[in-house]
């Protein structure tokens, strides 16, 4: 009954968003503020509606209503309550609903802002938003209804939205349980963050389209959406990082990023989003690149939709995914319309998007930003081509190919290194014009410091020649670029803080704090750069200096790797019980002592869990983690009854913690940059000024 109610809510939401589409168009045609206002209210109404539908779904999940097929698929009685709630995004139908909910949240938030000065944008923003929402809700209503119930008919049990003739409801005793890989905390937060990032990019897109349609192609749309874009970007970054951490913790291959098409699908909008965040500054400062920014925003939104399509429609998945989804064709039509409409609008308004200034120097800040954009787009091209190529290859030659990490690493490695280098140089150049001389002058001190540190690192390697491997030349280049960029960035902080502290007679830390507070975007940006530098160090560490070994050992025997010795002590096998005392998962756990230079360090418990409800195993590594390195042990196999013992795979991952630490700094920097200023657009009289207040003095 409740399930029918939930479905009813979805249908109503769908109708309301369709109404919003028509009301906004009608209002625009009739020049009627009433209709436009009505469409805006309809837009706001979708949020309570999707909230209600989501709550109904969560209630069904928590109350173990296995009559509902989605609940049956992703939940089971053995699961703790918090997992039952988060199982909402553990399957196709539920995650679409969750996506719609987040989308309506964002859209409602944006329609609540003051529109006094942007009246002409409103109907178009509402239009784009409600089309997107109607599409996603429509997927739920027509193809992937999360409220589908099981029915017992003559021929067997079938899931259906409406009662088939003569059928009675069928309720299985227990659900099949959530995929154990999705029970990890990283995976619980990872999808919401990713979705928030995805839906967040709908807003800049909606404003960009509004700007194109209305012909108001000045910088207003970028000013309004700047902060929204930053928040979307923050969530997307967070989602990607959490995904990496999740892979490191539960996928059991000692890595954090496998260049899987699904990962790349989420990474591509991040690339264009990042490029946009940089190039939009050129538009604000110099009035240039208006075309390009439009293209980037449209591209980002398209990639969000396209990536979602690729990962959900089964286009990219394999012979072995039985989950064939019916949403493919609908998605395809939506994508086609989006691409064509955006491209047509852009071409139509192209002449109006004139640049207001000229490029005066190849070394100017704007020129370097352009180079930055070129590199991001180059990485995007590599990713896109790698994802789409197997599809083309199969169509043309009939044979499948795999495009795996070697391709991506080889192709993007130099581009990433160039980006880090650019990150070091660009902050030193000035808007308008720089010359080699001014640039050289600014870079000389950080460069000297970097050379000294690099020399120290090289001495360390000479003293520890066993660390030198085939990647060493690349590692040296990478490290040098990274260190130099680090010094430039720190020097920028220091130079400004010192100048201010001298002028204002303040403590240097106080100066730094106030400076950052006054110019959040700039210093938030530099903080993000610092985070990226730390991440780069971690990536160089694990990618180029990772060592691994595998061996089968008996009890009290050892495996040695990178100066560590792990000794197999014990193997236990037991059942974990759920709250009702029924066995939930079978755990095989090895006890391993870790020594370094004869000194006892710690005891680790690598394990393999087998979940009874979903009949799937999960490998959980034992990790000793320090800032210097991670010692990472996987239990691969075991012979419980014999004394052959167990097989372990051991990884030594130098510096990998810098990656996670750097990610935290990165996120912190984004917060600094995205945090609302005290009074953005409070009073109309000050509005004009405050819209500019985000960008003084860059």
């Amino acid at each position: 009954m409740l399930a029918d109610f939930g479905y009813g809510i979805l249908v109503i939401t769908f109708l309301v968003s369709i109404y919003a589409i028509f009301a906004s168009v009608f209002g625009q045609v009739k020049k009627s503020q009433k209709w436009i206002e009505s469409s805006r209210l309809a837009m706001q109404l979708t949020f309570p509606l999707t909230t209600l539908a989501s709550l109904v779904m969560i209630y069904l999940l928590v109350s173990n209503d296995y009559n509902v097929s989605f609940v049956y698929q992703v939940s089971s009685r053995a699961m703790p309550t918090y997992l039952k709630v988060t199982a909402l995004w553990g399957g196709q139908a539920g995650s679409l609903l969750f996506w719609s909910w987040l989308l309506s949240l964002f859209m409602t938030a944006v329609t609540l802002r003051k529109w006094d000065r942007d009246r002409e944008f409103l109907p178009w923003v509402v239009l784009v938003a409600s089309i997107t929402l109607a599409f996603f809700i429509g997927l739920n209503v027509f193809y992937e209804n999360p409220f589908t119930r099981f029915w017992q008919t003559f021929s067997g049990v079938t899931p259906a939205t409406f009662r088939p003739a003569g059928a009675i409801p069928f309720t299985p005793a227990d659900g099949s349980g959530l995929n154990p890989l999705l029970r990890h905390p990283g995976m619980i937060i990872h999808p919401p963050m990713l979705y928030l990032g995805f839906v967040g990019f709908v807003i800049p897109y909606a404003f960009a389209i509004a700007a194109l349609v209305t012909g108001r192609t000045d910088d207003r749309w970028t000013h309004i959406t700047r902060r929204w874009t930053l928040w979307a970007w923050l969530f997307l970054s967070l989602g990607l990082v959490l995904g990496g951490r999740w892979a490191y913790d539960v996928l059991g291959w000692g890595g954090y990023w496998g260049w899987d098409p699904v990962e790349i699908a989420a990474f591509m909008p991040w690339l264009t989003g990042t490029a946009f965040l940089h190039s939009v500054m050129i538009q604000e400062k110099r009035g240039m690149l208006k075309h390009w920014n439009m293209i980037l925003v449209i591209l980002t939104y398209s990639l969000v939709i396209f990536g979602t399509f690729l990962t959900r429609s089964g286009v990219l998945s394999s012979v072995h995914s039985f989950a064939q989804s019916a949403i493919g064709p609908a998605f395809f039509i939506f994508i086609g319309l989006t691409f064509f409409a955006s491209a047509a609008l852009l071409i139509w308004r192209w002449p109006e998007l004139k640049a207001e200034a000229q490029m005066t120097s190849v070394l100017s800040r704007e020129a370097l930003f352009l180079l930055n954009n070129l590199l991001f787009i180059a990485i995007l091209v590599v990713c896109f081509w790698g994802v789409i190529f197997p599809l083309i290859s199969e169509l043309v030659t009939g044979a499948k190919v795999t495009v795996g990490p070697p391709f991506y690493e080889r192709a993007t490695g130099p581009l990433f290194a160039a980006l880090v280098l650019l990150m070091g140089v660009a902050p030193l150049s000035a808007w308008g014009h720089s010359t080699l001389k001014t640039l050289g002058k600014a870079i000389v001190r950080p460069l000297v410091a970097a050379v000294i540190v690099m020399a120290a690192i090289l001495v360390y390697f000479v003293l520890n020649p066993h660390l030198i491997n085939g990647y060493f030349p690349y590692a040296v280049i990478g490290l040098f670029v990274t260190i130099m960029t680090a010094f430039v960035t720190l020097y920028e902080f220091w130079r400004a803080a010192e100048a201010r502290s001298r002028a204002q007679k303040e403590n240097i830390f106080v100066s730094l704090w106030r400076l950052a507070g006054r110019n959040r975007r700039r210093y938030g940006g530099y903080t993000i750069h610092l985070g990226v530098i730390l991440m780069a160090v971690g990536i160089i560490g694990i990618e180029m200096f990772q060592t691994e070994t595998q061996g089968t050992i008996a009890k009290n025997q050892s495996i040695q790797l990178a100066g560590y010795t792990m000794t197999f002590k014990e193997l236990q096998e037991f059942d974990l019980l759920d709250a009702r005392g029924a066995p939930m998962q079978n755990v095989t756990r090895a006890t391993v002592d870790v020594h370094q230079n004869g000194q006892y360090l710690t005891t680790l418990y690598p394990r393999r869990d087998y979940y009874y409800d979903s009949e799937q195993p999960m490998t959980i590594p034992g990790v000793r983690s320090t800032m210097q390195d991670d010692f990472y042990i996987l239990l691969v196999d075991w012979q419980p009854m014999s004394n052959i013992g167990a097989t372990f795979k051991v990884y030594h991952n130098p510096m990998v913690n810098w990656l996670w630490f750097g990610s935290a700094i990165f996120i912190l920097g984004t917060f600094i940059a995205a945090w609302p200023e005290k009074d953005p657009e409070k009073a109309p009289a000050r509005a004009r000024k405050s819209s500019l207040a985000y960008q003084p003095g860059d």
């Binding site: 000045d218 291959w253 000692g254 998945s317 207001e356 495009v403 070697p406 061996g551």
Partner: protein
């Protein structure tokens, strides 16, 4: 990059092997897990797509690894083993397509697009230098008065900061 260097390493090892045929010919009685994984990490089994062979836990992949071990113990080289797997199961077992036939495209398209991008950016540089002067001549205040005002406000703000 990692695999590139690995390949480099492998060529080095191969060169050494050619230099010392006697030692290369003697088959290893039981190749270790590490030797097997060194080859398996660059391969993908069609049963579990997107999981490298060296870490995939399915029965099919376990059998594949044992097959690699068998071939190694028979004295096969890494290249021979990979070729055997390609013949048996198709090019999809390799972590990157071999640069031959249609698959050449995957390696040549990105550099071409990058070159095109560089060209476009350079052109954009030049066009931003020159033709704007002509357009500026035609519509002298390329910026609206409104924008001019904003720019002045901005300058004010800059001075204050």
């Amino acid at each position: 990059m990692k695999r590139l260097t690995f390949l480099f390493f492998f060529v080095l090892v191969l060169a050494l092997a050619v230099g010392m045929p006697a030692s290369a010919q003697s088959p290893n009685p039981t190749p270790s897990d590490d030797e097997v994984n060194a080859i398996a990490r660059d391969m993908y089994c069609p049963v579990c797509e997107n999981t490298p062979l060296d870490v995939c836990p399915t029965q099919a992949c376990i059998q594949w690894r044992e097959l690699i071990r068998l071939k190694l113990s028979e004295g096969w080289t890494e290249a021979q083993i990979k070729q055997y797997f390609v013949d048996q199961y198709g090019a999809r077992v390799l972590s990157a397509p071999p640069a031959q036939g249609f698959s050449v495209l995957i390696y040549i398209v990105p550099p071409i697009v990058l070159a095109l991008g560089v060209f476009i950016v350079l052109r954009a540089f030049r066009s931003m230098h020159k033709p704007l002067e002509s357009s500026a001549r035609e519509t002298p205040p390329a910026t609206t008065p409104d924008n001019d005002y904003l720019r002045r406000v901005e300058e004010e703000l800059q001075k204050r900061d």
